[in-house]
């Protein structure tokens, strides 16, 4: 991607030369939205860290459990930021299985092909009154919030669940090269009403030496945060049980029978849900 394009918030156009995080993740989940560049990148990464498929899967299943958990707690509005491609069950599909017709979901991504695929999927099995896909960038929280409000699908004056699943570990650089991820999250915490929830998952190398193994992959542009740093992302939100833990260990009773990890730390991602009081 040319630097001028990288500076655009959000970027436009289709980048066919570089692997895209959304499509590499799709490759790891066994989806078919990925291109040759993504497959190559994914295959190389798998050679040095074969558990990566299980990592991606554990993360996606964490997302599914979060959605059901929040529905059980009465949440009906979801803002899914960095939503990615609709592989292995998209948020609105998981929600509609659990509570048919009850929830509203706005998907947000800054990668336009990803947004387009979400829209095409919504043409088929969405409800335009309850679902939308927005092309916006998380690094610009106020504008993103406006764009989400403009869909008319969610009412931002009422509590919402803000999902930031597997996105904040992708370096969120501003035009000066500063990672503004944490600052953006702080702004989302301010923007949402009390009673709102924030769900986060985030790559780390505290469980296994994944960072060292993937060090050669500059394109990965990952930030490896510690448990403490991930907890800090929740600010003054109250963490729900069991706090920040491994994706595979967060309410595992539902889906994680055998995640394929010898120890939960192999899931290489911290995960948690907090509530604004």
């Amino acid at each position: 991607m040319a630097d001028s394009v990288r500076d655009e918030f959000p970027p436009h156009g289709v980048d066919l030369l570089n692997p895209s995080p959304a499509r590499v993740y799709d490759f790891l989940l066994g989806g078919d939205y990925c291109y040759e560049t993504d497959r190559r990148f994914g295959e190389q990464a798998l050679r040095v860290f074969p558990k990566l498929r299980a990592v991606a899967r554990a993360n996606r299943l964490f997302l599914h459990r979060v959605v059901r958990y929040l529905l059980r707690r009465g949440v009906r509005q979801f803002v899914d930021i960095g939503a990615g491609l609709p592989t292995m069950g998209h948020t609105h599909q998981v929600a509609d299985v659990f509570a048919p017709g009850e929830s509203q979901v706005v998907y947000v991504d800054h990668e336009p092909v990803t947004v387009a695929h979400s829209r095409v999927l919504l043409d088929r099995d969405g409800d335009e009154k309850r679902h939308a896909a927005v092309h916006a960038d998380l690094r610009d929280p106020d504008r993103l919030w406006q764009q989400v409000a403009a869909t008319g699908v969610v009412d931002l004056d009422r509590p919402v669940a803000v999902l930031l699943i597997a996105v904040l570990h992708l370096r969120q650089l501003d035009s000066r090269g500063v990672d503004v991820g944490p600052r953006a999250v702080a702004r989302y915490r301010e923007l949402c009403r009390p009673g709102s929830y924030l769900a986060i998952s985030h790559l780390t190398d505290e469980g296994v030496p994944i960072r060292a193994k993937l060090a050669a992959f500059a394109e990965l542009a990952a930030v490896w945060r510690s448990k403490q740093e991930v907890e800090a992302l929740f600010g003054d939100f109250e963490l729900v049980e069991p706090g920040v833990t491994w994706t595979a260990s967060w309410h595992p009773e539902e889906t994680v029978r055998d995640a394929g990890f010898a120890v939960p730390g192999e899931s290489a991602m911290w995960a948690g849900v907090g509530r604004k009081v």
Binding site: V14, L16, Y35, E36, P112, V115, A116
Partner: protein
């Protein structure tokens, strides 16, 4: 969709048999997603979504309960002349191999570069409807529907050459799999 294309797309699902020769390109209904994007370079999420929707429309045959027997012969050139470079060509070939493996009515064959041809004709499609047969020939700004017997005869004769020179289906599959490996090697270098 341009008007001159409509009769063709309307007829396609009802045809008994379709035979197509492509010397330099991949027809829309067989395009891989990145191939389409490389060709049209859509910018906004809206434009991209429109291309995806149009792409679905062009792919109706794959969900038809009675698709025509479909024979497509490509010149090797169609794969090298890919918009977007070798990565997109690899995607395109894999996509095509996947479709041919999945749909037994779709027959894909290739004429490699090393096969000498008397003359490489521009792309055409022989449409056999049972009652009205015609040859569909696209040009840059429209298309011809040739239904005069002498025109059809000329194309039928040319088609005989095409199928005589093409690798078998199995041979074409192996050829394309080799081409994927070769393109991937080039990308690693």
């Amino acid at each position: 969709m341009p008007e001159w294309f409509q009769r063709y797309t309307g007829d396609e699902p009802h045809a008994n048999e379709v035979r197509a020769w492509h010397s330099e390109r991949i027809p829309a209904w067989l395009e891989a997603e990145p191939y389409t994007f490389a060709m049209f370079a859509p910018e906004s999420a809206d434009e991209i979504a429109d291309h995806l929707r149009l792409r679905e429309e062009r792919r109706v045959l794959f969900s038809s309960s009675s698709p025509p027997r479909y024979h497509v012969v490509f010149s090797e050139s169609s794969f090298w002349r890919s918009p977007g470079g070798p990565g997109v060509a690899v995607d395109q070939i894999r996509h095509l191999l996947g479709l041919a493996a999945e749909h037994d009515w779709l027959h894909v064959r290739v004429i490699p570069f090393e096969v000498s041809m008397r003359y490489s004709a521009p792309d055409f499609t022989l449409m056999s409807m049972g009652d009205t047969d015609y040859v569909y020939v696209e040009h840059l700004n429209g298309a011809l529907y040739l239904d005069k017997p002498e025109d059809r005869h000329a194309y039928e004769e040319y088609w005989k050459d095409v199928v005589r020179l093409a690798l078998t289906e199995a041979g074409s599959r192996e050829f394309l799999e080799r081409l994927v490996r070769e393109l991937r090697d080039r990308m690693s270098r």
